[in-house]
Symmetry: C2
Subunit: 403 residues, 2 copies
């Protein structure tokens, strides 16, 4: 049987039947869109992955409860994270779900909520309710781009992607998604906000399993600043309106996961590339790790080191900082086995300096995306992680974000 | 009995009989001092605390062996860390000890070695040997300042301190020390290089115990960038030439540790205050932690967060970032118990926002040293940690350090 994956336009609204809107309700002072609504005409099965931060924001608690049901709508605001707001924050999140449900003639348990922005401020409910009214009016099967814009905070570009999986002469499904970065990015469970929709028919357990697997190697394999947010969440809704059914182990299970992985990877990559102050994307492949967990610890130790990040910003082949970061990662390994390459240039072999051509290294470091390969020679696990450099711009963005 | 602690001039050479030198032997391109020698006329008992980084530099291996003996000299170079240099690096460190011993008519096992600077380059032995010859010539009981200058890398000021402990009408001892920062500062076991000398008579086990205790609450309670170096070490030499003998539990054991703690704290503070790009020192007191280990994890999660650091640089009371960093620290706690104050201004109570005067908060944040207090209400441990903000200058220093 012949089948293929094809990139298409439209983001989340590329999925047949799905409607979305993005409007301005007054949470952002600059007048930009700050309120998004996603609507499924049929009840959708939903899967979610949520932040591991101990300060879990109230909207996540509400969404974790509601996601047990079939879902009809997701409402998302930017400009205010509704985090560290206690019981009042939880009531505000519930009220948002309730008002949305009322306007769409749904039960409030069919509505998921998400927030992103400043921590520690209460949601201005009047503005939120105005946003709901306006967004319900604006719902459209062309609204994906507006919604993707409305969830941005310090993002400089909106992030959406969609793919159609097509079986020759047969069935098909679409997966569309949108995401936002771009600071506090070091997901552990889920990263920031990402919303994915598919029309493939798939039951809840398989959906959750596919999402968790894909998230581990996409959203959970990126870092901008090592900060894991209080509001991270990735949601995947399956409307089941398409003509292909998927279950774990069935014929299209692997192709479905590949398509989902493709969507997750592209969105995750966009988050890193648009990370606060990012001038270079670091593509770090850890080879020969003992397992996923230790490979990730090693990779994050390197990608979160401010010394490593500034060296890449300065296009300086300072591999000693990489070695140092591996060394304090708390992972057990033999320093006398470690090989490191930057681009095609090997800079360390068996934990020691090797002579290399500085000009050739410099050429590799001048590119916008820099491949780094580290072979630990301790096991067989190979995983790729994505990070960014640390620039003046990061300081400038974050020196005065709240005010 | 009456006794007191008095700050005195002279750094390590404030200790009677101790000689030191700092010279330029060609490791630094800019002609600044890069080679230091410390000499004890009598054999000294020595204690040491070393980096926990898996890539432990060869000089540390040599020093860990030699420190088992009575010690007569310490030789330190800056400009080259002799790290990731394998067997050749170890032989180079041994050769440095050997040549120093030959010039001073000692056994090479009586000489300790330390290096700091760029990782992954072999030591230029000819230059090192020239440095040894010149430093031996220059040895003087006034040489403490020269030595403190010679161990600097990106430090902008040299760091030394000395205290005399005086019993009224009776005995006394002196503790002198020098240290260097100022990047790759997130000690775990020992931080960077610090060299301490005392003339108090104290046997090896007590000396090591006192040093480890003091290091935990001084050098191991600071962080600039979360990077734990391959070359960190703190050495404490006791010449025993004074007229006070100390043993664990004896009359002056606690006063000795207090004096040592004073010296370690001041040097550690100088490292943070002169940290790369530091414009503000963050004094973070964690109260109500369960134990030292979890308190430190919480503190370092906050002090190493680039978002927290840039907020303080920007004088922005963005306490949500503090909460977030606590939340991803992997320490078990109840988010609904956490109180946070910046200066005298409480910004969060029981994990939630409290209304506070923004102008009053801003006033606290404009100071050069900012007290932060976090009460976890989980236990009784209280510890103070020191960190720094993250500024444009840090990027500028580290974007092109190696070249």
């Amino acid at each position: 049987m012949k089948y293929w994956l094809e990139k298409i336009e439209g983001g989340i609204t590329a999925v047949p039947g799905v409607e979305a809107a993005g409007v301005h309700c007054g949470l952002k002072k600059n007048g930009e869109k700050d309120f998004a609504l996603l609507y499924c005409p049929q009840p959708a099965v939903a899967a979610g992955v949520f932040t591991s931060n101990r300060f879990k924001a109230p909207p996540l608690k509400v969404t974790e409860n509601h996601i047990e049901n079939l879902v009809r709508a997701v409402v998302i605001n930017s400009g205010n994270a509704n985090a560290c707001t206690g019981l009042r924050g939880e009531n505000d999140a519930l009220a948002t779900a309730g008002e949305t449900a009322a306007r769409l003639a749904l039960a409030k348990e069919e509505v998921l909520v998400a927030s992103t922005g400043v921590i520690g401020s209460y949601l201005p409910l009047e503005k939120m309710f105005a946003g709901i009214r306006e967004a319900v009016e604006a719902l459209s099967d062309q609204g994906g781009s507006d919604a993707a814009q409305a969830i941005m905070t310090t993002d400089t570009i909106s992030k959406q992607v969609a793919y159609r999986f097509q079986v020759e002469g047969g069935g098909s499904f679409v997966i569309g998604g949108m995401a936002k970065g771009s600071g506090m990015i070091c997901p552990d469970m889920a990263t920031m906000l990402a919303f994915l929709v598919t029309d493939a028919g798939i039951e809840k357990t398989s959906l959750q399993k596919a999402l968790q697997e894909c998230v581990n190697y996409s959203f959970n394999a990126i870092t901008v600043d090592g900060d894991t947010s209080t509001n991270d969440m990735v949601l995947l809704l399956s409307t089941g309106s398409g003509n292909l059914d998927i279950t774990e182990g069935s014929m299209f299970w692997e192709p479905f996961k590949e398509a989902l992985m493709q969507v997750c990877s592209e969105l995750a990559y966009m988050i890193v590339a648009d990370g606060e102050g990012t001038t270079k994307v670091l593509r770090l492949t850890i080879k020969g790790a003992v397992d996923y967990k230790s490979g990730k610890k090693l990779a994050y130790s390197v990608l979160n080191s401010p010394l490593v990040k500034t060296a890449f910003f300065g296009e300086d082949a300072n591999w000693g900082r990489i070695v140092t970061a591996l060394g304090y990662s708390n992972v057990d390994f033999d320093p006398e086995k470690v090989d490191i390459s930057l681009g095609h240039v090997q800079v360390a072999a068996r934990g020691e300096a090797v002579a290399f051509d500085e000009l050739e290294a410099k050429a590799a470091l001048m590119k916008a995306e820099i491949p780094i390969e580290i072979n630990m020679h301790m096991g067989t696990e190979e995983i790729t992680f994505w990070g960014s450099d640390l620039s003046y711009e990061y300081i400038s963005i974050n020196g005065a974000y709240r005010s």
